[in-house]
Point group: C2
Chain length 192, copies 2
């Protein structure tokens, strides 16, 4: 089976957006270079970031996201930014008539959502959005790796990368430490 990777861009103090969902300078590195990454033609990053991001995004089979992210993006209109399948953690059902062609599933429990995504992804990676859903998944012990694209900005407050986590979890030393332009790519395995 593929790995379950919690992922997001994050400030040096652990925030993925401010309290109003604004990402401010966190996404600047997505457009500060000339290198394309293949899956999204609005993204054009530095070559060093592209070398890291390209295989990571290409390896994603399914994403797990929260209902909030689904709602604010309208589910990317049925075209996920990576992979072919999206599992939305939500107590509410799929909106009636919403992109019937899209491989989106609505599951009301984080553990079951991750299990469904693993089934859909097969050998490929399951990317779990950090924040509420990612934090719950980590606390449940179903996350294999934590990928943080750390942007050199202090946020001070906002929405936390680790969401509701309220206990200590050890990680391995990072097996990825790559310095891009306005982003430091880090990736840690969760210690078992």
């Amino acid at each position: 089976m593929g790995a379950v990777v919690m992922h997001n861009v994050v400030s040096v103090d652990g925030f993925i957006a401010d309290s109003k969902d604004q990402v401010g300078p966190l996404f600047d590195w997505y457009s500060n270079g000339d290198a394309e990454i293949g899956v999204n033609d609005k993204v054009s990053v530095s070559e060093v970031s592209a070398e890291y991001v390209r295989p990571m995004w290409a390896g994603i089979g399914a994403m797990v996201i929260g209902r909030h992210l689904f709602d604010i993006t309208n589910g990317w209109e049925g075209s996920p930014p990576a992979g072919e399948h999206v599992v939305v953690v939500s107590h509410r059902l799929r909106p009636e008539g919403w992109h019937p062609e899209a491989s989106y599933y609505f599951v009301d429990d984080v553990a079951r959502a991750v299990a469904k995504a693993r089934e859909l992804a097969g050998d490929r990676t399951v990317a779990v959005a950090a924040g509420e859903v990612g934090g719950q998944a980590l606390a449940l012990g179903v996350v294999d790796e934590v990928a943080m694209d750390v942007v050199p900005v202090v946020f001070g407050s906002g929405k936390r990368y680790f969401g509701p986590v309220d206990a200590q979890h050890l990680l391995e030393d990072p097996h990825v430490v790559i310095q891009g332009d306005r982003v430091l790519h880090l990736r840690y395995k969760v210690r078992r």
Copy 2:
């Protein structure tokens, strides 16, 4: 003048201790190697960490700390872990009879405390403890660099590296990215 460097060991989610001041695994790297760093014989780190830490600690002339850290360490009994001078941000005065030989100063305002430390340090570095005091200093614009020794652990809650900071502050890309054993040394200049 020397630089003013905010510094601490920190979890991947930005905490420097839990809510009861316990550092848990954050300090493991201080004793997981064979290399001494010269200023504190209880510290014995990996060689790669020692090469970074030795000149940094040797370059410190004065420290700025909060009253809370002073109280829980009893001011390191008058022997600061680095440098010769300590400025304590406190509304209360120096405890009567406490180590009269020690070069410790008690100042009730963060900006004045940093100014006093710069005067004492001369050309050497002023190290400002992260947390309440460091966060206030950053917000006041008197911090030149942010040094984070990032330990691969999620804390979930506790005392924040950036303390009371509640606004965005841009940093430069890190000019130090050094991977030790159970610690990633990062150092950023504050963008002006």
